[in-house]
């Protein structure tokens, strides 16, 4: 029996790609800040395109989940974070690492299974680590890092130094029981945790209308008495502004918060494909419509409208990034694999005398 939508969207226009396509509002934002956002989003975009090519070339064999189209979420949230904060991600976390300032070469080396990678070549795309920038780990078990982030929030509270924990997850993870246990625990213990749901309206091949009675994930935060805000996740300034308020409250001791950023991935669940053939209701026309709400184009258009950027400058930024990233990729391809001894040496942190 073919499933069909039976309920109107609670997200309304945020779930309708025909809306929210105009250049974003940037009044009052420093030009330097905007250039930083643009550069960071473009960097993430190009890195992930390169990762897609590595998959197509057969060099990256492990599952690579690309977040092309979702760059504004990580960049907007990270603008409010410090290296002492503790950030955790999931299976689609390249952007979370890079937006914090993670190293492109180390990410690509990790994806290729090389010793120089973020996880010394032991994790691949789905198990990243970059504590030096505040990224404490990502894993692909859906929702698994949510309670771990809550525990990091408990540590932040015990430390008493104003740091917070951030948990990135998707709309699919909102269907896991651990999400609710974790929000409840964080609320009861009043922990400084920002739950960031990147609601891209899909989990693997199924759209959210086939999986939940409402497409608005923030309702779960409200049920747990957590401050919850839904924003246009393809508007970096809106994301940053909402994150600023919620993170500020968490740092002041007001307890956890939930930020739902509505977005869309241009590629399929895994790999560089678009998944128009496997998505029950995913179509080329839907993907094209969402490309009209591209987070990078919208900030670039806004900057051009305010004469903060022109076409040649945009192309120059992009060309420089492509060159840097291509060089990093070449280095990563040439880098060494872990020694065979790594297979057993890293099972335990402590080894017997």
């Amino acid at each position: 029996m073919a499933a069909k939508p039976t309920r109107p969207s609670e997200l309304g226009g945020l779930a309708d790609p025909a809306e929210f396509t105009a250049p974003i509002a940037i009044d009052g934002v420093e030009p330097e800040t905007l250039r930083g956002y643009l550069r960071s989003m473009l960097k993430i975009r190009i890195v992930e395109e390169v990762v897609g090519e590595l998959v197509e070339r057969g060099l990256a064999r492990a599952p690579c989940h690309l977040g092309i189209g979702q760059e504004a979420v990580a960049v907007g949230v990270s603008a409010q974070l410090e290296a002492t904060d503790r950030v955790f991600g999931g299976h689609r976390s390249h952007a979370h690492y890079l937006a914090l300032g993670g190293d492109v070469y180390r990410l690509l080396a990790e994806i290729l299974g090389k010793e120089d990678g973020t996880s010394k070549g032991m994790g691949g795309s789905m198990h990243l680590h970059g504590r030096e920038v505040g990224f404490h780990g990502s894993v692909p078990l859906v929702g698994a890092t949510i309670p771990i982030a809550v525990g990091a929030g408990l540590a932040c509270k015990m430390d008493g130094r104003g740091a917070i924990a951030v948990s990135y997850f998707g709309d699919g993870a909102a269907e896991e029981g651990v999400f609710h246990e974790s929000m409840n625990l964080a609320a009861v213990l009043q922990l400084p945790v920002l739950f960031v749901c990147e609601n891209n309206l899909y989990s693997s091949h199924l759209d959210i209308g086939l999986r939940q009675p409402s497409d608005r994930v923030a309702r779960y935060g409200e049920a747990h008495r957590i401050s919850s805000v839904t924003v246009d996740g393809n508007d970096v300034v809106a994301v940053e502004s909402a994150a600023s308020e919620l993170i500020g409250a968490a740092r002041r001791g007001d307890g956890p918060a939930l930020l739902e950023a509505v977005t869309y991935r241009h590629r399929g669940h895994v790999g560089p494909r678009e998944d128009v053939d496997v998505g029950i209701r995913r179509s080329q026309s839907e993907i094209q419509a969402w490309k009209g709400r591209d987070p990078i184009a919208r900030v670039a258009n806004a900057m051009q409208g305010h004469e903060l950027l022109d076409e040649p400058a945009l192309h120059a930024i992009e060309a420089n990034l492509r060159e840097e990233i291509a060089a990093a990729c070449q280095r990563a391809e040439a880098a060494s694999y872990p020694a065979d001894s790594a297979l057993l040496d890293r099972v335990f942190a402590e080894t017997s005398a």
Binding site: S119, A144, A165, S182
Partner: protein, 328 residues
């Protein structure tokens, strides 16, 4: 119990007290920690002495609480997450097996969740299938997770301390059937868990008995009775079942040339089978004088009816009878 002896439950409490007094980064989290009866006498009044910020009683959320302990451990804390019954801990298996045990390896050895997961085996008393399980073998199967099963009050205290001070994730399994076992305790010691070996609880010539946790206690008592029948048993208490100190077991079986493994878990793919397998693999052909035996639970869930319960668990008597038969 004489006045100077301490029982197993109190010894666990002494371990907590030592850790909480000596190490500010240690805390405990789990269900029932502010209750006088969830965990026997093993944590009595710790919340009053050390405060409810360090002894955290929680919502009914085994999975999130275990994950939270792991998260705090990644940030430099030394949490002990307490599961008053191992059966309920199964709700937290993703965090124990997929997360705690794997983060060191899959993140290139750059982090290690120094978390202690305390699971209590609490069975008997007609509690039935979901309040009785000893699932240590499941967890000993997992690379990266140390599994500790103390059988004496001294080990209950000192291996708890060693588990918490270890940089690796540890599943520490204690058994309510041992809580009244008592002995005179020396002052607490800080042992390196990685260096702990099997204990030879009793030396003997005729047969090696191997059992972990409560099964070690059963083996010691069976050895006493068998001694009266002229059978000289060597009793090996593994103490840590992952990674397992195989050398001590193999050396003992090489001496006695007979092996009986007692285990409170099931037979199929269980701990007893593992010990038999490692001896079969490593010993010279013909070393064993008699076929090895294993005494385990029957492959059935724990019953509630007292008549069925009476035939379900290994006992001193069943071990004595089986070993006497084995050596006949």
């Amino acid at each position: 119990m004489s006045a100077s002896e301490t029982n197993y439950g109190s010894a666990i409490r002494a371990g907590f007290e030592y850790l909480l007094s000596s190490y500010p980064k240690v805390f405990a989290i789990g269900q029932g920690l502010w209750s006088p009866w969830y965990v026997g006498n093993s944590m009595t009044d710790l919340d009053r002495k050390f405060g409810r910020d360090r002894i955290i009683d929680t919502p009914v959320s085994e999975l999130a609480c275990t994950g939270a302990a792991i998260g705090a451990s990644l940030c430099g804390y030394r949490p002990i997450v307490v599961h008053p019954r191992m059966d309920f801990m199964l709700l937290a298996v993703d965090q124990i097996v997929n997360q705690a045990a794997k983060w060191s390896h899959m993140l290139g050895g750059q982090v290690s969740p120094a978390v202690t997961v305390r699971a209590i085996i609490n069975r008997g008393g007609e509690q039935g299938a979901q309040h009785s399980q000893s699932l240590h073998a499941w967890f000993a199967h997992i690379p990266g997770l140390r599994v500790v099963m103390p059988s004496t009050p001294t080990d209950a205290r000192d291996l708890l301390i060693a588990s918490v001070l270890c940089d690796d994730p540890v599943l520490y399994i204690d058994d309510r059937w041992l809580y009244e076992r008592s002995e005179v305790l020396a002052p607490p010691r800080e042992l390196a868990l990685r260096d702990q070996r099997c204990a030879i609880r009793r030396s003997g010539r005729d047969v090696t008995l191997v059992g972990a946790g409560y099964s070690a206690f059963l083996c010691e008592q069976a050895a006493d009775q068998l001694s009266a029948q002229g059978v000289d048993c060597e009793v090996i208490d593994p103490r840590v079942i992952n990674p397992l100190d195989e050398a001590t077991i193999l050396a003992s079986v090489n001496r006695t040339r007979a092996l009986c493994v007692v285990d409170g878990g099931w037979r199929n793919s269980g701990f007893a089978g593992e010990v038999l397998a490692l001896t079969a693999e490593a010993l010279e052909l013909g070393t064993l004088r008699v076929p090895p035996i294993r005494i385990t639970l029957p492959d059935a869930p724990a019953p509630t009816s007292k008549t069925l319960e009476a035939i379900y668990y290994p006992t001193v008597e069943s071990i004595v009878a089986a070993v006497a038969n084995q050596l006949r």
